[in-house]
């Protein structure tokens, strides 16, 4: 009797944890969308790895990449949520260059994950001479600035 109770518990728990297990393994793959990887391969996009972590309240924002193309500048980041609730205010994250020019958001998307979401935001394209950008977050009394250097050829991988 006890044997079956514990086995049913194990099985039921595993079923409930399927999304977590699945996302754990899919994490090991690339976090750059396929169509951008294609662009990179054909030489139309440059990927810069960021790998910077910022804490906003109890959540962790993981900036992964900045992708630069002729049409847009993509900022790819993960929002690791400590608890479920409102989604990250993507509109409060502005993209600026060293001279203070603003590049507005053209579009974006987010993919939900058991731990939060992966966000891909597209901003206006950067002029060629811009070598460093500032990700500027302002939301009520919360704020952070993250400088990202865009010097060099970036990373060819996807």
């Amino acid at each position: 009797m006890g044997k079956w109770i514990r086995r049913i518990i194990i099985l039921a728990s595993l079923i409930m944890l399927i999304p977590n297990i699945f996302s754990f393994f899919s994490e090991l793959g690339s976090d750059i969308p396929k169509h951008i990887r294609d662009e990179v391969e054909s030489g139309n996009a440059i990927v810069y790895d960021v790998n910077e972590e910022v804490i906003v309240d109890q959540d962790t924002i993981n900036f992964k990449h900045v992708v630069r193309t002729e049409d847009e500048t993509m900022v790819i980041y993960e929002v690791h949520k400590h608890e479920p609730g409102w989604s990250f205010p993507t509109g409060a994250l502005e993209l600026k260059d060293e001279d203070g020019n603003d590049y507005s958001i053209q579009g974006g998307g987010s993919a939900g994950k058991p731990w939060g979401s992966i966000i891909t935001m597209g901003y206006e394209p950067l002029p060629e001479n811009v070598e460093s950008i500032i990700l500027d977050f302002n939301w009520y009394d919360r704020s952070f600035q993250l400088e990202v250097s865009l010097i060099g050829e970036g990373n060819s991988h996807g």
Partner: protein, 198 residues
């Protein structure tokens, strides 16, 4: 201890570890709360706002409104009851700027709570110390730009407390009010502030 026993102990241990993860990661258990204030606090936390100072709590059975202030902002966050026992974050957790140079900072919001209740909130904070009372003129049965005769205007009124905040609310399914004007009066009844809302 026989090998069967060891296996049983290990399986129970595995079962407990898995239950722990299921409970820890359950969005259900992390999102719904037994107390409305917990839902309010979580709503603000995950919105990266506050924690605000609750000025007044309004209890309408299946909903609670928290009239609150946080630094330079005011808000009227709403939480709603779920499945009879739980509370969940509702709407309008966001704070609005208190405009010090204005006499009254106000906003309004409407949200569908359920089939019966369409909750309208007109709320704000008064910065002009001379204002003692806030009035809201409303009417029913007129469209946006239509002239409304005096007799058809109803005036809702609220005396201010020390916290200087006010909230007018109604169910739009019962009273389909059109807000006409917001007024601030001093203690003698003189109009200090008047804003046409149309």
């Amino acid at each position: 201890m026989g090998s069967k026993k060891i296996q049983a102990v290990l399986e129970w241990a595995l079962a407990l570890v898995l239950i722990f993860f299921v409970v820890k990661d359950s969005s259900y258990l992390n999102y719904y709360h037994l107390s409305p204030i917990k839902a309010h606090e979580q709503s603000e936390r995950t919105f990266y706002y506050g924690p605000s100072e609750i000025i007044e709590e309004f209890d309408f059975g299946d909903i609670r409104i928290y009239l609150a202030k946080y630094k330079d902002w005011f808000s009227a966050n709403t939480v709603t009851k779920y499945a009879g026992v739980f509370w969940q974050p509702g709407s309008h957790v966001n704070g609005f700027k208190i405009e010090e140079e204005e006499d009254i900072s106000y906003t309004w919001s409407s949200s569908k709570i359920n089939e019966e209740l369409m909750l309208m909130k007109y709320y704000g904070i008064v910065t002009n110390p001379k204002i003692d009372k806030v009035e809201l003129d409303v009417t029913v049965g007129y469209v946006w730009d239509e002239e409304v005769p005096e007799d058809d205007i109803e005036t809702l009124s609220e005396s201010l407390d020390d916290h200087r905040m006010f909230l007018f609310h109604w169910n739009e399914n019962e009273d389909n009010y059109l807000a006409l004007a917001l007024r601030g009066l001093d203690e003698k009844g003189n109009i200090i502030y008047e804003e046409n809302l149309r």
